[in-house]
Symmetry: C2
Subunit: 379 residues, 2 copies
C-alpha cells in the first residue's frame, strides 16, 4: 500500500513513483495546499485539471474549524473535500509554533489559543496523531517543535531533542491506532527532521530518526523559513548523501519555481507551498519568462495568454488583458484563474524535471530553464 | 440570423426558440449577469456546465472599465469574456439613473460621474448604441430613462416620452452602424418599455414602440424595482394580450424563482438578475424546498447535497456540511459553489417550465412547484 520506486537518477535528482492508498504519484511532485480543506479558490475538478496528484491539508486549521469530529461525521477528509486522490496532513506543529504569544510549550505538548474563537486548545504528539488518524489522510506527519530560521544552536538543539522525543510518542500512538478497533483507515506516518540551520544538529537528528525505525517517507522541516537561500542549498547538499535513497524526501514549505528546481537538483522529491495560490490571489503569476504582476499597465491591451508555453485553462482561454481587467475590477474569477495557472505551472515544472531526470539530462535542462526564467521579457 | 419560433403555448405561458448570431436559446430562459464581463465567481466553463445559453453584460460598467476600446482591441466582448454563445448588453440606462446625485439628465443624454475614477462621462442614445456596437453582443438594448418604482404619473410620463424619443435616436444610430464600413458585426436592437406602475402609460408606450417598426425582441423595464408583487403581476397580465406574440419578451431584472414562475405564467420569455450570484455569495441558496442559508448551524454535520433534485457540480460533489464549513471559514470556493448552484437552479427551473408548457401542463406544474417551494422543510 505504501511504496516508493526510483525510476531514474541524474546527479542527485530523482524521478520516482510513490504509491499510497488513494493512488500513485509521479515524483518530483508539487502538492497544492488546502489549508482549511480547500485549496483556496480552486475546486477538486480544477486541481485534477491542473494535474495535481496529491494535496495537503492542515491539521491545526481543521481541528479548530470545523473540528475533526465534524469531518469524520461528513465521511472523513477525502469525502469532505471531495478529493479522492492522495492526501497528506501536516501535524499542526508549524501552525501552533507560529502562534507566538498565544501558546505555552511543555514537554507534554502545546497549549494554544484558537485563532477562530480564542478558546484554549491543546495539541500533543498523541493528540496530533489522533486528529490526523480521524481526518484519514494517506500520510500523517509527526508533531514537531519548529524554531524560527535564525534560532541559535541551543534553541535548535532543544527543539530537535523535543521533536525526537515527540516522534517516538507519535509513532507509538500511530501504531496503537493502526492496531485498534477503529483501524479501518490506512495511513502512514512520516517523521520531520528539524535542527535549524545547524548542520551538525541536522545530521545527528537524521541518524537518530533513522535509528528509530524504517519510514515510508521523510520530511525536512524548518527550512525556507527566512534563512538565506545558499544556507538551505548547502544544508540539502550535506544531508542528501545521508538520506536513505528508498525514502521519498519531502521538503516542507517549498515553494517558488526556482526553489523547486534547486531542491530537486539536491535530491528532494516532494514539495508543498501556499505560494502559487497566495501569489495568484495577489495578481502575481509564474511564467516561463519569470514572474509577472498582471495588474501592470503593459498588459492592458495584451491579447496573448499569460504564458504561451502553458496548457492550463487560464492560458487556453483568456488574454492577459482580460486577466488584468478581472484584477482591476476586483472580480473573483481573477483570483481563481491566476491560482489555477500558478498551481499548474509548478505541477508542469515538476513533470518537466521528472522527464529531464529520466532522460539523464537534468543539468542542461536546469541551466536552460534558469536562463529563461531569470531573464524575463516582462517584469 | 434573428428568429423567434414559438414551440408551445399553455395559457399565456410560452415555449420558444430564439436564434441569434452566436447560437440558439430555448425559452423560457434565464440569463446570468456578467456585470463587468464576468459572471461573478463563475467561469465560462462553469456557465456552460450549468446550461447557460445566453449571458448579459453591462454597458455602463464595461464603458467605465476597461473601456469599450480595450474590449475591442482584445477581440470584442465574446472573445474578451471567452464566451462564444449569445450575449446581450444592457444600455447603461438603469445604471446611470441609479447614480442619484452623480448625474445630470438632459434631452441630449446623461452626464454622470464614473464610480471607478470619479471622472465625468456622458451617455446618450447614440453613445450607448455605439458602445454596444463596439462591444459586439448579439443583442443591444435601447438607452432608456428609468424612474424609481414609486414615481408619480407626471414623472413616469416624462421618462416614457424621453425613452420613446431616445428609442428613435438609438434605432437611427444602430441602422447607420449596420450600414457603415465597420459593419462586420451582427447585432439586433431591442426597445425597452417604461411607464412605471401606470398601466395607461405602459399600454400607450407599448403601442408607440410597436408603431416605430418591427422589433426582433421587446423588453419590459422598470418593474421589479420595489413595487409590490401584485402590481407587477397585474401589469404583466394587462400588457400580455397587447404584446406581439412573435416577439420574445424580456422581463428585465427578474429574478427570484417564484418571480420567474409568475412571469412565465404571464407570458414572459427571458430573464436576467444578479440574485443567484449575489445571494450565493451571501450563503443563500435556492432549493426545491425553498431558500436556505447555508451558514445555519443545522447544516453542520449534514452530509446531504444542498438540493437532492439538483444536478449541478455543487450538489453532485459536496455536502451541506462542507459548504457550511467553506462559508464559516470564508473560503472563496464557497462563493463559487453556491453561485453555481443558484444559476443552475434558475436554468433548470426555466427548462422545467418549458417542458410543462410543451406538455400543456403548466398550471398543474406551477401549483406543484409552488406547494413544494413555499413549504420548505428547512429554513
Amino acid at each position: 500500500m505504501f511504496d516508493f520506486a526510483i525510476e531514474g537518477i541524474c546527479g542527485s535528482a530523482r524521478a520516482g513513483r510513490l504509491t499510497l492508498p488513494h493512488g500513485t504519484i509521479a515524483t518530483p511532485a508539487f502538492m497544492p495546499v488546502g489549508t482549511q480543506g480547500t485549496v483556496r479558490a480552486l475546486s477538486p475538478a480544477d486541481l485534477e485539471g491542473a494535474g495535481a496528484e496529491m494535496v495537503l491539508a492542515n491539521t491545526y486549521h481543521l481541528h479548530v474549524r470545523p473540528g475533526e469530529d465534524v469531518v469524520a461525521k461528513l465521511g472523513g477528509l477525502h469525502r469532505f473535500m471531495a478529493w479522492d486522490r492522495p492526501l497528506l496532513t501536516d501535524s499542526g506543529g508549524f501552525q501552533v509554533f507560529s502562534l507566538e504569544g498565544f501558546r505555552q510549550v511543555s514537554e507534554d505538548g502545546v497549549e494554544f489559543q484558537s485563532h477562530v474563537d480564542g478558546g484554549r486548545r491543546f495539541l500533543s504528539p498523541e493528540r496530533a496523531t489522533e486528529i490526523q488518524w480521524i481526518l484519514g489522510a494517506d500520510v500523517a506527519m509527526a508533531f514537531d517543535h519548529v524554531v524560527p530560521g535564525g534560532a541559535d544552536e541551543a534553541a535548535a538543539r532543544d527543539a530537535l531533542e523535543r521533536t525526537l522525543r515527540w516522534l517516538e510518542r507519535c509513532a507509538k500512538r500511530h501504531r496503537e491506532l493502526q492496531l485498534g478497533v477503529l483501524a479501518s483507515g490506512n495511513q502512514t506516518l512520516w517523521p520531520i527532521l528539524q535542527g535549524g540551520t545547524h548542520l551538525a544538529l541536522r545530521t545527528e537528528g537524521l541518524r537518530r530518526i533513522l535509528d528509530l525505525g524504517a519510514w515510508t517517507g521523510l520530511a525536512i522541516g524548518g527550512l525556507s523559513v527566512g534563512e538565506p537561500k545558499p544556507v538551505m542549498h548547502a544544508m540539502l547538499e550535506a544531508l542528501e548523501p545521508r538520506l536513505p535513497p528508498e525514502c521519498p524526501r519531502y521538503l516542507m514549505g517549498v515553494g517558488f519555481p526556482e526553489d523547486l528546481v534547486a531542491a530537486v537538483e539536491r535530491g528532494m522529491d516532494l514539495f508543498d507551498c501556499v505560494a502559487p495560490t497566495r501569489n495568484g490571489r495577489n495578481g502575481s503569476a509564474f511564467t516561463s519568462d519569470g514572474p509577472v504582476n498582471i495588474r501592470n499597465a503593459v498588459f492592458r491591451e495584451d491579447d496573448r495568454p499569460l504564458d504561451a508555453a502553458c496548457d492550463c485553462e487560464t492560458c487556453r482561454s483568456f488574454s492577459r488583458g482580460y486577466l488584468r481587467h478581472l484584477f482591476m475590477a476586483e472580480e473573483l474569477l481573477g483570483l481563481r484563474l491566476l491560482s489555477l495557472h500558478n498551481v499548474r505551472f509548478l505541477i508542469r515544472l515538476a513533470a518537466e524535471m521528472r522527464a529531464a531526470v529520466r532522460g539523464d539530462d537534468f543539468p542542461r535542462w536546469a541551466a536552460d530553464w534558469r536562463r529563461r526564467y531569470t531573464h524575463p521579457e516582462t517584469a
